[in-house]
């Protein structure tokens, strides 16, 4: 399933973005809120995020090796993730991106010495990418609910013990590259503002409201997010 979202659907206002930067509502200095407003407006006009997911109905889950296998590909998702998807009947693989433009604008601003502008672009890009992943996840949840199924949280290579190198396996299923994401040798995504991963699907799977309770990595950059 291929999806696209306008930035205007995903950005939730100045206070929300300032909140990501650490500010309580109404406490961010004027130059910061002004810049958020200007750059958001600039990107709202043309910005588009893309997402794609593929559902695999026939999967083999091995509780000994903590692996998920389908279509001849084995994912070593490790114990934390396996414990969440062990009751799945199928899985979805997904990729999402805020697109190339926002990251390029951030890098260009940084290079030109306008670090604040570069930082604001970067925060907007992160929020758009995560927002697109949230919307994609909702779309998947709605789609599988028609068959009486539920979904787990989303899990990404590189987190909760899942080796980032398995990105290469994950991306091998997205042959037409609708989202335009490429991988570096070290399996990082380009554009940087992208999200990828796996979601379990089934009648007995559960969505954990606070996924981070599952994992003991207190330094994870996703710690505290509710997805």
């Amino acid at each position: 399933m291929r999806l696209s979202y306008r930035y205007s659907e995903l950005l939730t206002g100045i206070d929300a973005l300032a909140g990501v930067m650490g500010y309580l509502p109404g406490t961010a200095p004027e130059p910061v809120t002004d810049l958020i407003a200007v750059l958001s407006e600039e990107l709202l006009a043309t910005g588009e995020a893309r997402a794609e997911y593929i559902i695999f109905d026939h999967v083999n889950l091995d509780p000994v090796s903590k692996t998920v296998e389908f279509e001849g590909v084995v994912f070593h998702v490790k114990p934390i993730i396996f414990s969440q998807i062990k009751n799945a009947e199928g899985v979805a693989l997904f990729i999402c991106t805020a697109g190339r433009e926002v990251g390029e604008l951030s890098r260009k601003s940084m290079k030109e010495g306008d670090l604040l502008r570069g930082y604001v672009y970067d925060v907007i890009g992160s929020e758009v990418a995560e927002g697109a992943a949230d919307r994609m996840q909702e779309a998947l949840k709605t789609a599988v609910a028609l068959s009486g199924m539920g979904i787990t949280n989303r899990f990404s290579p590189g987190y909760c013990g899942w080796d980032v190198a398995e990105q290469h396996k994950l991306f091998s299923f997205f042959t037409e590259n609708y989202c335009g994401i490429t991988l570096t040798d070290s399996a990082l995504m380009n554009p940087v503002k992208s999200v990828s991963g796996m979601i379990g699907i089934g009648r007995k799977v559960k969505y954990a409201p606070y996924k981070c309770q599952l994992c003991d990595d207190k330094n994870c950059i996703y710690r505290g997010r509710k997805t």
């Binding site: 670090l115 604040l116 930082y119 970067d122 330094n219």
Partner: protein, 221 residues
């Protein structure tokens, strides 16, 4: 401290770049760090004095406020921009040798990691602490760190990583650098890095925030 040095210091602390900067509102239409630094030099104040008595203390206050969560990244960046506007006038004195830096700090984000905001923040704060910055950028190979260390004998080196997945590359780089340059001080930082990890990989210092790195460097020079 003379009045003009105090004013420069205040401008840097609150991100007042120049006369056109509308922020902070209380300083609107007043001269900023850029103009005041020029005036200070024209009045005969030594560039080293401007650095030691105005810029370094200002950036130190900014770093301390950040450590206490009183300000956030955008205000640090605004302060750094004001400091950079002041440094436009001071840099020529470094080049001529009239003013000395405290030392050289080589910094880069490790191989496989494309994130640079944290690295840039640390660079700015350390530059504000009077050090020359050699910024190797992102996705920096161990060989590139070695090359820079050979080119700048006596430099301190800092490695940044944002991802748990690239911490392994940080470990490899530190191991090679430690073997090659046993006396070189190595700092590590980034969201997933911890004191414990720093110790295990044989780096000399870890700080969860830029100011910690600045304070550590003060003990070296």
């Amino acid at each position: 401290m003379t009045e003009i040095l105090e004013r420069i210091s205040t401008c840097v602390e609150f991100g007042k770049v120049d006369i056109k900067s509308p922020y902070p509102p209380a300083m609107k239409d007043q001269e900023g760090a850029f103009e005041l630094t020029r005036h200070a030099l024209d009045e005969g104040i030594k560039p080293g004095e401007i650095l030691e008595e105005a810029l370094i203390p200002a950036m130190s206050r900014v770093g301390q406020k950040f450590s206490r969560n009183e300000i956030f990244v955008p205000q640090m960046l605004m302060a750094a921009k004001a400091m950079s506007s002041s440094m436009i006038h001071i840099k020529p004195y470094y080049l001529s040798g009239e003013t000395k830096r405290r030392g050289t700090f080589i910094i880069g984000t490790v191989r496989g990691d494309l994130h640079d905001i944290g690295k840039n923040l640390v660079s700015m704060m350390i530059e504000g602490g009077g050090w020359e910055i050699i910024d190797l950028g992102v996705d920096v190979s161990t060989e590139k760190f070695i090359e820079a260390a050979e080119k700048h004998p006596g430099a301190v080196i800092g490695l940044s990583a944002l991802l748990t997945t690239t911490m392994e590359n940080m470990r490899k780089s530190v191991e090679v650098l430690r073997n090659r340059f046993p006396a070189m001080k190595i700092l590590v930082g980034g969201a997933p890095v911890t004191e414990d990890f720093c110790r295990k990989i044989g780096a000399d210092f870890y700080s969860p925030d830029p100011q910690g790195a600045v304070e550590y460097l003060k003990t070296l020079a």
